[in-house]
Symmetry: C2
């Protein structure tokens, strides 16, 4: 079984990011980075981190097709394994990401882990999943702290994998998320704010195995 | 009357951006930049461009509150005059931008200029405007190539200004947008792809004046 843990380095400092990545690279599927780290370090951080493991650029891309395309090409060129983009901006915008991603995977955000996700996204989740599928996205981002939402996306996902943030600091539980259909678990603060990131990562991997064992047979385990 | 033209430098190259900014700074309200230029030049481009004119960071921020806050603080620290964030991620996420913006203005995206905007955003535009107002945003982004959408936002905007992209390459007309309620016009490709950006800027300023003159009295002219 491949590793299914993704560690989110939602921090500004390049040195700390590289140090954590180096220490945990053998125990994770990928590192996820977002704008704060890129703003702090420059886009070459993608290439630097890629020496240790896969890098997922969580840019929540949400612009018109032309701009989405420019952003995607740039991170792909730096070696990103996957990029994360919003489905909410529409099929053409998301398709521009898919068409510009080259060999990189595209994960479409269809639901989120914070309270404000209920203002618009949750009401539209079925259609967001449909738009993501039509655009050719490779998988979905759905909230790990919302098991019923994971199941809802899962039922409509046409066997494309679900990647879930919101575990740990945001209240989600890795065992429960995986049992309900999450294929990859993203954890941020619990790891990078720990004095012993390797221990936290080890424990999370155990939780993921536990969740997979207790998962209903109807939810095939899917690869990104 | 203050100048009401915003030039979008949606390009990668720092040198070209600085050169255009220097040449047109006296004829525009602000320069708008987005991720492609920041990825190409690093975030310090905000500070460099601020020497010539106001800088609006069009980051289409669309993440959870914690990440939105980190991004906003970083660009504010570099001297941004305003930041652009999405309303569809919800009130808490947008409020995190407002609360982290310091003296910078926050413009909320409530409608967009590309075809895919009709997939989700247009159906929710009234509620997106309401959420933007509740979050304390200083103004709205609405599409300059969609006059009925500008009027719709205008009627619900509680006298906060409307800033409109989609003019020029995306089909919108500056005179018409301003007549229908746009307070600031954003133009990108028509300016930066021109061999004579100053001439294009001069012509656009004339169009904005024309639009303001022909604007119905019920639409007060609003400042950002």
């Amino acid at each position: 079984m491949d590793n299914r843990l993704i560690v989110a380095l939602d921090i500004f400092e390049e040195k700390k990011a590289l140090e954590i990545a180096k220490n945990i690279s053998d125990m994770v599927f990928a590192i996820k980075i977002n704008w704060p780290l890129i703003l702090g370090s420059g886009i070459d951080i993608v290439t630097k981190l890629s020496r240790f493991t896969r890098v997922i650029c969580d840019l929540k891309i949400a612009d018109i097709p032309n701009t989405n395309s420019l952003i995607t090409k740039k991170v792909r060129e730096k070696g990103a394994y996957a990029v994360i983009a919003h489905a909410f901006v529409g099929e053409d915008s998301l398709k521009a990401v898919v068409d510009s991603a080259g060999g990189a995977k595209v994960l479409a955000v269809v639901a989120m882990s914070h309270p404000g996700a209920s203002d618009f996204m949750e009401k539209n989740v079925d259609d967001l999943v449909a738009v993501a599928l039509k655009s050719g996205a490779d998988g979905f981002i759905a909230p790990g702290n919302n098991p019923s939402m994971i199941r809802r996306v899962r039922e409509r996902s046409m066997n494309k994998p679900i990647v879930s943030p919101g575990i740990g600091a945001q209240g989600g539980n890795a065992v429960e998320a995986v049992m309900n259909g999450t294929d990859y678990v993203i954890v941020g603060r619990s790891v990078y704010e720990s004095a012993h990131p390797e221990d936290v990562v080890g424990d999370l991997n155990w939780q993921i195995s536990e969740g997979l064992e207790r998962r209903p047979g109807k939810y095939e385990i899917l690869n990104l």
